[in-house]
Amino acid sequence: MAHTLPSSDQSSDQDKWDSGGLECKGQLLIKIVMRNRLTALVVDGDTTCWVLEQELLHSYGVQTLGVDNSRDAVDLIASDAEFNLIIIEKILPVLNGLEVTRQICEIGVHCKMLEVTACSGESERQAFLAIGVDVFIEKPLDPEHLVPILREVDGQ
């Protein structure tokens, strides 16, 4: 089980650790210490995935907001809600993931965007990357892919 510590008041402890020492592997959940309280928006129409992805993020101390359709996602971003990370599924109610990603990017979002989807061909992968998705991950979202992204967003 991953544990997180509050951020800056732990900096003296953090100084004692080497660059790789913050990380040790449990069975599957990679344990890391976050410096900051990150926030993430999870956009997925499938409730099982929506719950799981948020719980995985919670285990790393990430605060999440979940929406189950593209319209709510776009409205949220258009209302100036800010996140460190946005996770989007390709197949969504209302608009597909590609279109909602395009609209979110056009609004001018500056955060890490992850496309997390069941499967896709190379052309679709390239289409998402071309419109501004940073990382394309095949489901299920796992610590092996997530942790490096969290560490990067956390400035580690």
């Binding site: 449990g26 599957l28 959940l29 099982t48 069941a118 489901k139």
Partner: protein, 144 residues
């Protein structure tokens, strides 16, 4: 049944689910996300999956019965099914979803219909096995 025997039974059932290919490592991730603040997480997610996937199965059946068959719609439904089944570590179900999508991409209606029977079969088998396993886990935790 005494505590040790129950715990041994849980371990044996769990091992069997992995050895026989019904579950993969993703299920371990579910177990690792369960803790004192979320003590029933695995059961809750499995229940959620079966509620969602039952609805998806109905949608797929309707789509397969419609004429002409809308393969794009079918593919979207199965994409979602595959996503949720892979997310709980339902290995055999996920594999059957992949096989179905291949028939769907080829617009092979008969292949889709046959493949869908396999999806439903694996879905039902896993449901029964998980119900028994999780019930045994609950019994074992009550004797802990």
């Amino acid at each position: 049944m005494d505590r040790n025997r129950l715990h041994n039974q849980v371990a044996s059932m769990r091992r069997s689910l992995f050895d026989q290919g019904y579950l993969d490592d993703q299920f371990i991730q579910l177990e690792e996300l369960q803790d004192d603040t979320n003590p029933n997480f695995v059961q809750e997610v499995v229940t959620l999956f079966y509620n969602d996937s039952t609805r998806l199965i109905q949608n797929i059946e309707q789509a397969l019965n419609s004429r002409p068959i809308e393969f794009c719609k079918l593919d979207d439904y199965m994409h979602q099914f595959k996503g949720s089944s892979s997310s709980i570590g339902a290995k055999k179900v996920t594999n059957e979803c992949t096989a179905f999508r291949e028939y769907c991409n080829a617009e092979n209606a008969e292949g889709c219909i046959r493949s869908f029977q396999q999806v439903k079969q694996e879905h039902a088998i896993l449901k029964r096995k998980l119900e028994v396993y999780l019930q045994t886990v609950r019994q074992a935790s009550q004797t802990a």
